[in-house]
Amino acid sequence: MLEGILIGLSTAVTPFNLMMVVAGCVIGTLIGMLPGLGPMSIIAIMIPVAIGIGDPTSALILLSGVYYGAIFGGSTSSILLNAPGVAGTVATAFDGYPMAQKGMAGKALTIAAISSFAGGSLATVLLMIFAPALSSVALLFHSAEYFALMVVGLSAIAAFAGSGQVGKALMMTILGLILGTVGEGALSSTPRFTFGILDLQSGFSFITLAMAMFALPEALFLVMNPARSAEQGSGKITGLRISRQEARTIAPVIGRQSVQGFFIGVLPGAGATIASFLGYAVERNLATKEEQAEFGKGSIKGLAAPETANNAACTGSFVPLLTLGIPGSGTTAILLGALIALNVTPGPRLMTDEPDVFWAVIIAMYIGNLVLLILNLPLIPYIAKILAVPRNYLIPFILFFTLMGSYIGQNNSTELLILVGFGVCATILRFANYPLAPLLIGFILGTMLEDNFARAMQLYRGFGFLLERPMTLALLALAAILVVLPSYRAMRARRRAMREQGVAEGD
């Protein structure tokens, strides 16, 4: 393996390649900050450029720079504007945005950068050591297990069940699942719930819904509540650096989530989104009670967990891509196309037939990660200054990016109407104190949940898979525990508090 690393290093580290990785990171970060453009579209845009370079190693280095840059850029818009551009960074906004609101935008960005870097790097090491052995792990999951995994992912909503909002969180999740059923279903191409509207035939787009649930209500809230915006708009950005204490708090989170995220990423079809939700849910359950109360209100653990997990999962998704030639996500599907165009066919023979390419890819990922961190850490104070812009300039800016983000993906103006319609509904729901994140989680996971459930039902001709596949049962049991345990704990705590109060009153 050491030999392999050396081969990779010798092919990857040249002045030209380093220039490529810097260019890739910068382009990726800048475009990735725009909500509508996720890693998938940016890589698709960059492919002709990469193919034009001709040398597969340089091209891959450029693309991996773009990839990591785009992921980092996506977290930036989640944290600063509450506008997650890709499903994988939705969980980043849960705690990242509240942190930014408290004036800790710089700190949040630093934590995001460090978690991303650590997650990506640790996962690259895991990839290097285990890639050949892991190809069988990637094939361990059948549709039945994917279904169960999505159910576990849904249990992330338990994190929002605190402070007596269980009912509301559940209702919003179900609403999200319902919205996910619009469009063509898993079992046939017959349109459902489209009311004959052609634009709804492919269902609601993720980006439109994400903007409508998160970014738009936020902007409208600021418009309607000038007092609040005035008090916050002082533009003070404090606490750029993270203290040693904070570093110690997030270190175990990063360690755990690198491994967990990587293994979830290895499964084709699970990917960064599930990894980030699960990471969030698991870390919340592991946290102490005081820390748990912080989740959703600007917890550094709650930010570090999904950021680490989604980067580790992105790296993990290279395992099925490189060892089996199976793209596990939209982004890796496009990368597969680029690799084939460069005359590299990923598969079991890649490592033996073309070890230089295999190792160059891995080294390229590592360099991409490292350069991204070096480039971005010094820039963070300047990026965070966006929030220091006076609100009356910032709000139109947010509105512009929100509208553009939902238009740009589909080039369809109907998306704007849907966006505004949902945005108004979401603002009303926010006023009524309904959590909107569960809705988005339900929407994202709903389609995958349904597809896999339908397949499992069809393969086993009924519910037989629940009993015949022990892993499915185990995952479903885990989901049940993740949901029930926190509510049980909360209930017990409330009872105890009540009893103590009762005793006190009795005195």
């Binding site: 998938m40 579209s41 890589i43 698709a44 845009i45 002709p48 990637a138 094939l139 361990l140 999951f141 059948h142 549709s143 063509e184 279903g185 898993a186 079992l187 046939s188 191409s189 017959t190 349109p191 052609l198 634009d199 035939q201 492919s202 084709p268 079809g269 099925p320 089996l324 030639g325 199976i326 793209p327 596990g328 939209g330 890796t332 599907a333 496009i334 597969l336 196309g337 084939i340 165009a341 066919t345 990923p346 598969g347 079991p348 023979r349 890649l350 993906g409 589909q410 080039n411 369809n412 597809d451 397949r455 069809q458 393969l459 001709r461």
Partner: protein, 325 residues
């Protein structure tokens, strides 16, 4: 500010210089083409349109090519848009493929290819049935024997919903082998990659997929190709047997071609056809074609119509048998 503007102007000048060299070749047919892609960036339609545009501009047949992704409604949004804005869209070519036939049969798309000007079919990809390399199934005959023994346990998967293209291909093969095309268990996946993972994990027994994808995986030693839906063996991978030579009547090609707005003037149609026909002969196109693993099948205008009519008949009959219509 001044600096930025100067940079922009330099860039613009460079662009002009670029198209200038293209014109210098002397055999330019058209100044520009706008490609309308009914799906998102990175998909099959996107690759075909951008590959075609790349070959057209690099070979100097066309000055510049621009692209527009307009997804939605399984391609229906783009078709509706092209028809609605017909008169201002004569400079536009829309890429499409077999799904336009299937989706207009099911009513998923309100219009059909008849509502558009047929420019030309340019390339195609045959379909194939594959099994995992470690599967006990060696030939199509083994697969059929296994299916006949316990039809309920034999599942064929594909990267489309039931009633979609991969399902129809599997049904064509089963029908050709004398089986009931409605009886076998078809499992639909969201995308080709997921379906492939399903095959390798042993969830499904066989996979219906595009031949170009099957070649890539067969070369890596991951899958065995049981049969191809072409009449003769395909030179790009001639160790794969055809269904025809195994006595199974299964003829199918997933074509890709270009359409223009209705009412396109005759002379413009002829120019487009000339440009596409000439492009297929160029080296630049050869590079794109081999990269995508497709087969050149050039069918301009009326020939394209005859072919589409026949395919609509074939798929329509099958879908009625399957109960999808």
């Amino acid at each position: 500010m001044k600096f930025t503007r100067r940079v922009m102007m330099t860039a613009a000048a460079a662009m002009v210089a670029f198209s200038g060299t293209a014109q210098a070749d002397g055999h330019q047919v058209l100044d520009s083409i706008h490609f309308l892609i009914p799906g998102g960036a990175g998909g099959g339609w996107d690759g075909t349109a951008r590959g075609t545009g790349e070959a057209l501009t690099e070979s100097g047949l066309v000055g510049t090519a621009s692209y527009e992704n307009l997804s939605g409604g399984g391609g229906g949004v783009a078709i509706a848009n092209l028809i609605e804005n017909a008169e201002s869209s004569y400079g536009t070519l829309m890429v499409n493929s077999t799904p336009i036939v299937i989706r207009s049969l099911t009513g998923e798309i309100a219009q059909s290819y008849r509502d558009l000007t047929l420019v030309a079919g340019t390339v195609g990809d045959y379909a194939a049935l594959v099994v995992a390399d470690d599967s006990p199934i060696q030939t199509m005959e083994d697969a059929l024997a296994m299916y006949r023994e316990s039809p309920n346990d034999f599942a064929i998967g594909g990267g489309s919903v039931p009633g979609g293209m991969d399902h129809l291909v599997a049904a064509i093969v089963m029908q050709g082998a004398g089986e009931d095309p409605t009886a076998f268990n078809y499992i639909g996946y969201d995308a080709g990659g997921e379906a492939m993972a399903g095959l390798l994990s042993g969830e499904i027994d066989a996979l219906s997929t595009g031949f170009s994808e099957a070649i890539a995986l067969a070369e890596q030693g991951e899958v065995r190709i049981l049969g191809v839906t072409s009449q003769e063996r395909v030179p790009a991978y001639d160790s794969a047997p055809t269904f025809a030579e195994q006595g199974i009547d299964a003829d199918f090609v997933n074509w890709r071609g270009f359409f223009a707005a209705p009412g396109l003037p005759e002379d413009m149609l002829a120019t487009y056809q000339e440009a596409l026909g000439a492009m297929l002969e160029t080296e630049e196109w050869e590079a794109v074609r081999s990269r995508m693993g497709l087969v050149n099948i050039y069918r301009p205008g009326d020939e394209f119509r005859t072919f589409l009519d026949a395919q609509e008949q074939q798929l329509g009959d099958l879908m009625r048998d399957l109960g999808f219509l």
